[in-house]
Symmetry: D3
Subunit: 254 residues, 6 copies
């Protein structure tokens, strides 16, 4: 199987520098202070932002807020069923790693002082997985976070003013058969020699760069080509986030 035909077109018809169909649906849940269903092609992640007044004990009296995230996958999000982590009684390393990545990415753009002593927890649950779940989660979670901040300001828990210093989005890139490609679905992801997740602010600076050689180690020029693709991809995602936040809330029946 090859995802790139001789004409340079991928299995799903995209060019190497093209994102999948991305949808950001706000207000997908009725009760959360912010909630987004984000889709990167067949990948669907439900991002719920829970706003609570107050902060964990170790941060009390600091005047600063706290933003954290938890990532998980439904057991049948993938092609074959995975056991639940609650049933196994412990959280796997991959889950921990991604939860921490999402949290760091969001904290990079929040002004903790402007948030005040409030906590926002982002739950990113993968309903269906087709590659790029962590990057879709970051991209959607930012929008849910923005809605939760706005809710907190409307309710008077947070002072008016800028709480989010910038936006943040993420995308995966990889090298497949020697060709750098943007936004890998599962079939490409498993074949990638190098796999990189890049988290970028709306203004184009890096928050995280995580590149891994799955097969052969990669050269400096390959790294550069992947970063170019990622910056273009996240710029497009930034536009889609802004558009979603500018439009009215669509809700579950969208």
């Amino acid at each position: 199987m090859t995802s790139l035909s001789s004409s340079g077109v991928r299995a799903d018809g995209r060019t190497p520098d093209q994102l999948r169909d991305v949808r950001i649906t706000r207000g997908w849940l009725d009760q959360a202070e912010g909630s987004v269903l984000v889709e990167f092609g067949g990948t669907r992640v439900l991002c719920a932002a829970s706003f609570t007044a107050g902060v964990p004990r170790w941060r009390k009296g600091s005047g600063e807020g706290w933003v954290t995230a938890e990532y998980a996958m439904l057991p049948r999000a993938t092609n074959s069923r995975n056991d639940r982590e609650s049933v196994r009684g412990k959280i796997g390393g991959r889950t921990h790693e991604i939860s921490r990545l999402i949290g760091r990415s969001l904290r990079a753009v929040i002004d903790h002082s402007a948030l005040g002593e409030n906590t926002i927890v982002l739950d990113c649950d993968v309903l269906q997985a087709d590659g790029g779940t962590r990057t879709a989660a970051i991209t959607g979670a930012y929008v849910a976070l923005a809605d939760a901040v706005a809710w907190g300001q409307k309710q008077g828990h947070v002072k008016p003013g800028t709480v989010l210093r910038d936006s943040v989005a993420a995308v995966s890139v990889g090298i497949i058969d020697g060709v750098p490609m943007l936004d890998l679905p599962y079939v490409e992801d498993v074949r990638a020699e190098t796999d990189m997740n890049v988290v970028v602010t709306g203004s184009g600076s890096f928050v995280e760069v995580q590149g891994t050689a799955e097969g052969a180690p990669f050269h400096r020029e390959e790294l550069n080509a992947l970063l170019d693709l990622a910056l273009a991809g996240t710029a497009e995602l930034t536009r889609l986030q802004a558009a979603a936040l500018a439009a009215p809330v669509a809700g579950f029946r969208a």
Copy 2:
């Protein structure tokens, strides 16, 4: 707050013997052998059926299949966030109890010999909770199970013929301010003096009857009135299940 005005109409406009708006969307996931998003009003449960050839060790060589279920709630399915059971490192009693109830309910209508040595796991994940999540889960899981059985027959894993001896559906009933009512949303559920979950086959026999006095103990006549309501409600759910299975698969964008 009262959910029943003096005119006998509930807060959401229903009469005491009326179901909420029920929707059963088949094919909500792309990869599961059966998948249903079931909605009882604001309650939304994703039921995914995973078919695998073979059975657990203790059942090998019996010629019989196995059907089991796992129930869980997303952390922000409810009005305020609950900690994940995977993070707490153990599954709560309520989760265990409901998972077991769903499994028993489905096993009551399956012909294990006709299924052959195959296993079907039903994952019922509550995306949004507004009362009656376990009864919605059973009602939706039956439809996902039917699709998974059909998939198994189409693939040749299961012999043609009747594997499901009957259908099964469930509904909650309760007594509020002395009035027996059908299909309680959260606001009614917390006020109910008596709360009952009833699981009934398509032909009208009981699979499970679970009644609990939340406030005052209940009398025999109240029990009878609740059972009458539940039988009428599950008969209506049986019709909706049949209609969903007769219609083409709607899929996620329905």
Copy 3:
């Protein structure tokens, strides 16, 4: 093997509507505020009530008390040994389910305000299991609870007056070879087509009704016949509880 001969007599010589030999021994432990060894035939459950002044944090300042229960089985209570839940590192679903049932049953008859801000924990440990362990536990735990309440009043922790609004007892019923029967020992329990546990107050109202079709679903008339049996059985248990509470404390050497 059949437990009912052609003459309508069961393997242990009882008629279908007859309880096993029931014994309630108060004061079986020297140190607990209330303690009962309850026997339903070969089933033996030790019920210990621990009274402590004060309530859990979430109930402080409410003026109300709290009653809760924990159920467990010794590893060799059954015919073959079961691993300890402490060794496995987690509590099984069945254990959780029964602990919750006992707690709800006792709370249905206690006046939490009259108890004041005190906590009573009922530990129900099955020393030997021969069917009906949860119903024996509820029946015995009520007596231990009554003793613990009396202790609290004698010590001045609880004000004089009625704290227990009613008594509560429980019994299992089931349909075997088409015949509804009362108080099933293990050999009957495994053969029952329908199995029901019924918790009833001293005044004859229902606290819990939990019926499960183990084999074929059951009809309304069968349900009614089972409830009739259960009400007669719990009425007899109520008399035995009252007699035990009226007699002097027997103690361990009884």
Copy 4:
């Protein structure tokens, strides 16, 4: 409070070298292959021996059997309630330590080859604790083990002949107010400056000697005095074990 009056008599009337009232009741459970309720004064431990053909994987093919033990306390065995280890999700160090001690003590007298590839698990559950629970457990477990071995021989799982090379019993000793004393109840145990548990075979050899200075370190002569007391005490326990095994099985209603 003092447990030894000026006349050299203890609070419970015993002399320093006297055991408490010891009772060994065989056949206390109906289903276990061996079962004993052992009482050392107010300490009551239920010892159940479970015989199973076969051995753990690491011992297969060795021709040798395996004997192991698990010790636990019911939550209200003590004066104030302790949380269950199953609820806490882990076994405490003290429990581990005592389980291992009981297992080692029993293995010291068993001929593993004569037992053949069979496993006997001893469950020692403390129903009521008043000091010396581990020594009572060892003393009772030996008798339950003897009954389980006899059962295995009667059933033909174990070849006729000597499987138990000797008997084994245990007792606690300690120094209180400078006086060495035998078989300490709880009130003495907490006051002991030195506390020792001694496990001795029927023929008078040591299996385990575990002495701990709770207060001041102890001298060689004190150690010697304690060992003298312990040897006399275990000799008496050996006689009581032999008497119990020689008498008919008493059963639960003894």
Copy 5:
């Protein structure tokens, strides 16, 4: 406190592009097939390689070997004591993340076919932590791995020939007060605006690039400067690894 004086010299006297004093001591343990104490300044990591014939079940029959790693810290490796993960009962996200990173890094240079069906586990235990523990662990683990491979070849478990296709080393880099710096000790690490761990093969290709904005997001040029520093640093570490492997084994008393 500042780690860089106005003259461009760091608190410990190094220039920005200078490694700390690095020591690699082979044969630090007597029994492991490969063992290295690696020091990056005050950071000391004990890397033990355990060689076992055979592979995990999922890899059996593949003809390929398996290399994996576990990272941990002693409780007092750091300035204040941390609770043990064994006591807490679960492994933290950071530990998981680093264990996985070390394993991936080593697998990037091993020829799994040439290793044959053998498993090598690398245990990297931090005895003392002063920044850069994960990069020191990778750098030391490679040397222990090389010794374990040589052991396997000497014992005849592994065929002669090249099993390690390249060497691998790692270093941390970061931006402090705007200046890119190599190999950060703890005092610099906590002040870094951007923190990057880079894993590079002996031939200069990337295995992992993990950059995180701790404070402000970073620009493309900063990323480039950090990568330059890291490549120079790992080239030096590659030389030190080769020198250690060329010299005789020093052992614990070195």
Copy 6:
């Protein structure tokens, strides 16, 4: 294999009453308030003392301090690798047992009132195991404790004066082929018929005596011979501890 030749010399050349080469290196860690690498032949244990002002909640207001210990083994301390207890998610019985023994031994010589409301935790991590790890740990931990107490006095957390009422050391003894021997390495330990760990104060009183018959039960005279050996061995260890504390701190490069 025999460890004692006909000439009465052991495999490692020692006489039966001779200790292995013992080294006590203070200041092995840079950051701990006390730290010792203790070696008994090939057994190496790192003992780190962590001093913190304040005591656990249950001891607050008592005016007394608290000393506790945790023992663990690195996975490759032994000849074949053991799984980490953190990975298994629970601490084994042996680990618990030894941690408790070390804590009790140290508490036997500390004056809790003189320590004041301060806590000292001793972490004893076995870097390499060759028998006698618990006795080496106690012997080394005492020296680390002494350094931590001195640190606390120097910092003004602890009042001047005697906090350690005595020193404490421990050694293993055992009977091999009928000969009582001192300080057993692993090869002797596995062959010992009787194995005893003895903890003794500097002034020659017992803190703990733990003797176990691994093979045949042991007689009173054997016990006496073992105690003689142990007292001589701990007297020598006491001298080595005093010498280490009298000399300047050697540090890691010693």
